[in-house]
């Protein structure tokens, strides 16, 4: 593994280290995974534009990535990215955002960009909670989970982002987690090379705001839970609905 991290350091503004992420945050893994995918794709980094909104995940590219970054208002990165991509189609445009940014306040832009099959790669870091603002419930928070605004357990069902975006018309749709780094990197590579709307939901971990209020307060425990609870699309085909309760299906859904 030695040398792997070194290979992506040239894409990072290391002068801004340390990152602002909490100890145990999953977003650092995703920060690296995206750069590995860029590196392995052989893309000219100066022609890659990263657009992000408000929230912890918005800080993955901005200011860390050493190329053009556009850090915008809450929920709107997909719409900003649409303008940049339409005016300069030569740019590879990647949107990185959290579940609140992309799927709650930005939900309308998400489904319409998918419907248009806009040539963007959207990576949604889903930690199931509003981390930056103090751990409030998100539209991705599981039923029963405790958050700052659901102290007795969440009453609402969460969005299944993969099914939502696939139904809206996206032409590459996948879900992985920050535990499943190698397939995640391969998926991001595919998304970067795909022409059309690519969407990858990346299950991430927030021990600070989510884990500590629920069953698994430790970073490593949250990562182990991702390992245990995720099943691949292929394996899920052989499981009954009862066996799939509490499991998250990962893999490629469209494309």
């Amino acid at each position: 593994m030695k040398g792997t991290t070194a290979s992506i350091m040239k894409y990072i503004r290391t002068e801004v280290f340390p990152t602002p992420f909490c100890a145990g945050c999953g977003h650092g893994i995703l920060l690296g995974a995206i750069l590995h995918a860029v590196h392995q794709s052989g893309l000219d980094f100066s022609r890659v534009l990263f657009v992000s909104g408000i929230g912890c995940a918005g800080w993955i590219p901005s200011p860390h990535y050493n190329t053009d970054t556009l850090h915008v208002t809450h929920g709107r990165p997909v719409a900003f990215a649409t303008g940049a991509k339409l005016f300069n189609p030569e740019l590879t445009v990647v949107v990185i955002g959290g579940d609140g940014d992309i799927a709650s306040i930005g939900g309308n832009h998400l489904i319409h960009a998918a419907r248009r099959n806009m040539d963007l790669t959207v990576i949604c870091a889903n930690n199931m909670v509003y981390g930056m603002t103090g751990g409030q419930a998100a539209p991705t928070t599981p039923r029963g989970a405790r958050t700052a605004t659901t102290p007795t357990g969440n009453l609402e069902p969460p969005f299944d982002l993969v099914r939502l975006v696939a139904a809206a018309g996206a032409t590459y749709v996948a879900r992985y987690s920050v535990w499943h780094v190698r397939p995640l990197i391969a998926s991001i590579k595919k998304a970067l090379q795909h022409t059309g709307f690519s969407f990858i939901e990346v299950l991430s971990t927030c021990p600070t705001q989510y884990g500590r209020r629920n069953e698994e307060p430790t970073p490593i425990g949250m990562l182990r839970a991702l390992k245990q609870n995720c099943v691949t699309v292929k394996r899920a085909e052989d499981l009954s609905p009862e066996e799939l309760v509490g499991k998250t299906v990962i893999g490629e859904f469209v494309g």
Binding site: V16, S46, R47, L49, V51, S62, P63, N66, T67, D68, T69, L70, H71, V72, T73, R76, A79, F80, A81, T82, G83, A84, K85, L86, F87, N88, E90, L91, N108, H109, H112
Partner: protein, 402 residues
């Protein structure tokens, strides 16, 4: 009506001075030069196209639809111009800002309800110094109000709608000709000062049809793209490279330093940024502000009307009625509403016994006029109908106790 009258510029003429500076060129107008019979909304689209607008994102709304439809049809005839109908007004202004950073001369158009939705991202354009033009064809509000009726109720929304302390450039044309001319001016101000510019039309001007002239050439200001200088500081108006040019731009709506690094808890960074964002407009308010006097002799004036937009047309007719009755009346017409031309209003109104501000709202510009001329009075109408010349003339007579 409007363009037939000879006008005298009461402010300093900005354009002549600006053409001396780098960044200015003249390009052939996209339309054949000559006279056209055109609608205000269509003239807005044509002015934008003449100014080099090459990105338009919009969402349908009355009474601004004709701008988007005209742009859509005309862009299909022209190379290198991008049109998209977005999912809502928030997406429209967001994609306009994204396109502007990709190098576009970008624009959107809407009415009051859509402007309300755009305001957060207009604030983003202010703090990131993103050139763009936002057209608001005002209609009667608040909320859905009366979608097809004229009003001038968005003057303060245009000024203060985006949260946080900031300056704005807002232009309010009175004729189809001026819509065309000021759409061009709006683009050039946006590019020159790296600001969002609001072209504040109203339903009356937007749906008006009259003659206008297209000149052979259009003055165009192009932004500096020097990537060796910081894009968010040092210079009063810093250079703005585009995405994909290797400038490694860090663009953020958070408070930032000259190179774009977030400085979210530094009092100095916040103060310096806000100071520069304000002063780059205020230091140039004389060249930004456009006002016109009509039938107005400042040194021998009893009654001064201060008006803008469609209402200025009725005000000029009212001045004629007053002059026919032997009253020394004149009109000061504000084409630029923000930054408010305080000094010009103060100078022109200095000797007037009566200063009256007719407007289709409850006194939004009147309050500004009163800051410099305390005895100014308003004539206000908010029933979704335009103010007529006779109404202003009668209000004038009442104030003068004739």
């Amino acid at each position: 009506m409007g363009p037939r009258y000879k006008t005298r510029d009461a402010g300093r003429s900005g354009e002549a001075e600006l053409t001396e500076q780098s960044g200015w060129t003249k390009v052939p107008s996209e339309l054949e030069p000559g006279r056209y019979f055109m609608q205000g909304d269509e003239a807005c689209a044509e002015g934008a196209i003449a100014a080099g607008c090459n990105y338009y994102a919009g969402y349908p709304i009355t009474p601004a639809n004709e701008i988007m439809e005209r742009v859509c049809q005309r862009f299909m005839q022209l190379a290198g111009r991008v049109f998209i109908q977005m999912e809502d007004e928030i997406g429209s202004i967001a994609s306009v800002i994204g396109a502007s950073w990709a190098g576009a001369r970008a624009m959107t158009a809407t009415s009051g309800p859509g402007l309300s939705l755009m305001l957060e991202n207009i604030g983003y354009a202010i703090i990131t110094e993103t050139p763009c033009v936002v057209v608001d064809v005002q209609r009667a509000g608040p909320s859905t109000g009366q979608a097809t009726r004229p009003a001038q109720g968005d003057v303060m929304q245009a000024r203060w709608g985006a949260h946080g302390d900031h300056e704005m450039v807002v232009i309010s044309p009175w004729s189809v000709q001026e819509v065309y001319d000021e759409a061009i001016h709006a683009f050039n101000l946006a590019e020159r000062f790296r600001v969002p510019v609001i072209l504040l039309m109203d339903e009356g001007v937007g749906h008006l049809r009259e003659n206008m002239e297209v000149p052979a050439e259009t003055p165009v200001y192009r932004r500096s793209k020097d990537s060796s200088r910081p894009p968010f500081g040092e210079a009063e108006v810093p250079p703005m490279p585009a995405f994909g040019e290797g400038a490694r731009l860090l663009v953020t709506g958070s408070t930032h330093d000259a190179w774009g690094y977030r400085r979210t808890s530094s009092p100095q960074a916040q103060e310096q940024l806000l100071e520069r964002l304000a002063s780059k407009i205020l230091n140039h308010r004389h060249e930004i502000a456009r006002t016109h006097t009509h039938l107005c002799d400042e040194d021998d004036l009893d009654v001064l009307l201060v008006a803008y937009g469609f209402t200025a047309r009725s005000a000029l007719a009212a001045v004629r009625l007053a002059r026919a009755a032997g009253i020394k009346a004149g009109l000061l017409r504000l084409t630029t509403l923000w930054p408010f031309p305080d000094e010009i209003v103060e100078r022109v109104s200095a000797r007037a016994r009566l200063v009256m501000v007719p407007e289709m709202n409850r006194g939004q510009v009147l309050r500004e006029v009163r800051r410099v001329m305390q005895h100014a009075v308003g004539y206000n109408k908010t029933n979704g109908e335009v103010i007529t010349p006779l109404e202003i003339w009668q209000a004038m007579q009442k104030e003068l106790a004739l």
